[in-house]
Amino acid sequence: MPTMSYRDAIRQAMLEEMRRDPAVVVFCEDARFWTMPTHGFVDEFGPERVPIMPISEEGFTGAAIGAAMTGLRPIVDYTIANLMYVAWDQIVNHAAKNRYLFGGQASVPIVFRAAMKYANATAAQHSDRPYPQLMNVPGLKIVVPSNPADALGLLKSAIRDDDPVVYFEPLRLWGTKGEVPEGEHLVPLGKAAICREGTDVTVVAIGDAVPAALKAAEVLSGEGVDLEVVDPRTLVPLDKATILDSVAKTGRLVIADPAHKTCGAAAEVAAIVAEEGFASLRAPIVRVVAPDVHPPFSPALEALMYPSPARVIAAVQSVAPAELMAR
């Protein structure tokens, strides 16, 4: 299988879909800039499909909605997830709601791309992981790929989907490489991946907490603790069945997520299991998440924010079966 970086996978997905479907357009500031996965797209697809964008996030999000309701399939790239806040009304009050409000007369097939720059010393206004906020809004599908193959396959599915999909990219994964299946690769929305099978503790990990959880699993397997690592990949709709099945097997749940704790994605997973999987739970559910404080600029402090293998290990140790911990 060919190897590809996460960033190139994003680029590849957009390229393939734009070649396949002339209705796909890209709204992105500085789309021609060398750092952007859309670098070179203007040359191939022309300035009509990749227009030069003023700094007008609210405006071009609204324009994407109008275009989407009348036949196009825009990809709106905010380049930094925090910039979605400027366009929040268009995303939350309109993209998510218009189809419902209009009784299904029109769809809003947009992909909102949002790179999350946390762990990069860009401070609070450029480091948010806002997917929990949007998970509270019906009508938006939400995706957080954790590796290049999923980045490619989920983005292609998102572009083809007839609903608005918000596609979150942990920027520190952009440079990571991984194998990508040959030929056309589609990953269905709404299907979790079991990244590692195990029997003792389930770790549900999101975004770049997945590699952290896998490292933790490696370390702990040396200590005789066998983790099952589940990557939901799609947060809305969430593949509850896979999570509940795993907890039914292990009876123990740790959730690792770089987003903030309160009302976060981890809270939702915990609530679902406390509600629908209670009978199988044999220990408290533990959240390994960002504490409820803004990402500080100082790298020394920011290093404390996100799930690390060490934090996952500590959490697992606090809930793993006593007989395993005693060994």
Partner: protein, 325 residues
Amino acid sequence: MKTEEQLEAMRRMLRIRRFEEAVMDIVRKGQGIAGAVHICVGQEATIVGSCLALRDDDFMVGYHRSHGHPIAKGAQLRPLMAELMGRRTGVCRGKGGSMHLADFRVGSLGETAIVGAGIPQAVGAAYGARLRGTDQVALCFFGDGAANIGSFHEGLNLASLWSAGVVFVCENNRYAMSTALADTMAAGSVAERAASYQMPGTIVDGQDVISVFEAVSMAVERARAGEGPTLIEAHTYRYRDHAEYGNLKLSHRPEDEVEEWRRRDPISVFSAQLLASGVAEEELREIEEQVAAEVADAVAFAKASPAPDPDELFDDLWATPLEVH
């Protein structure tokens, strides 16, 4: 405007007027329209004059005071009235209500309850038309209150940059709720702000359906030819308060101001013009009667329609629901 078009203008203005009167009646009697309604009576000439300048396949975007706009664009009354009554036969299946009377069959792309938010959406529809290779034009209505919100600025700038085929019609009825435009806009007129976006901006008498039609027609022509957007400010007036609040007397406007505008009622004025130009009184009476019957039929249809079933609650949330839940 040819005589036939003039009669159609008359018909549509009357349709709006009678429809709104029926709505007010139902609200007053508590017969099944819930929530807030924003009545557009008084503004019919602007709405109809603008929409008649469009082709059937052109787009139109409304705002919160937009019962009349889909009607002007050619929508049928039954599904509109049923929507206001929250019935499953409503144009939005009861999901949208008063502030969201989309009717995509006639190019009515919907209305928004968020002031100004429709502006960039109309720009996007026009951009999309160009890209899809059609010459459809998008007409975008909004109130004077929208002139101070960010979407106005961003939307007009984008439209101009893209030479988008969009016509902006600001229905300046002088107030946003109880607040006079003069107190909130640091500019002499909405139209003069067009200069900031290098687009033409004109003021038109919004009570004169022909003036509106002519101004918008010119702008539509420009738009269709790829020459870019136009901002038209129509001076108009709403006879009713911001919304219907039962029988309370609330207006913050001087009583004689309302009276003054009523004396220039767009339908009476136009009716007199038509008669003067030789249209037979009978012909107008016939239109009156047809419209009254249509509205009565729409009300009867709506009242006879069932409310949505509880299991319709989730319908139309997703275009492609996924099987995981």
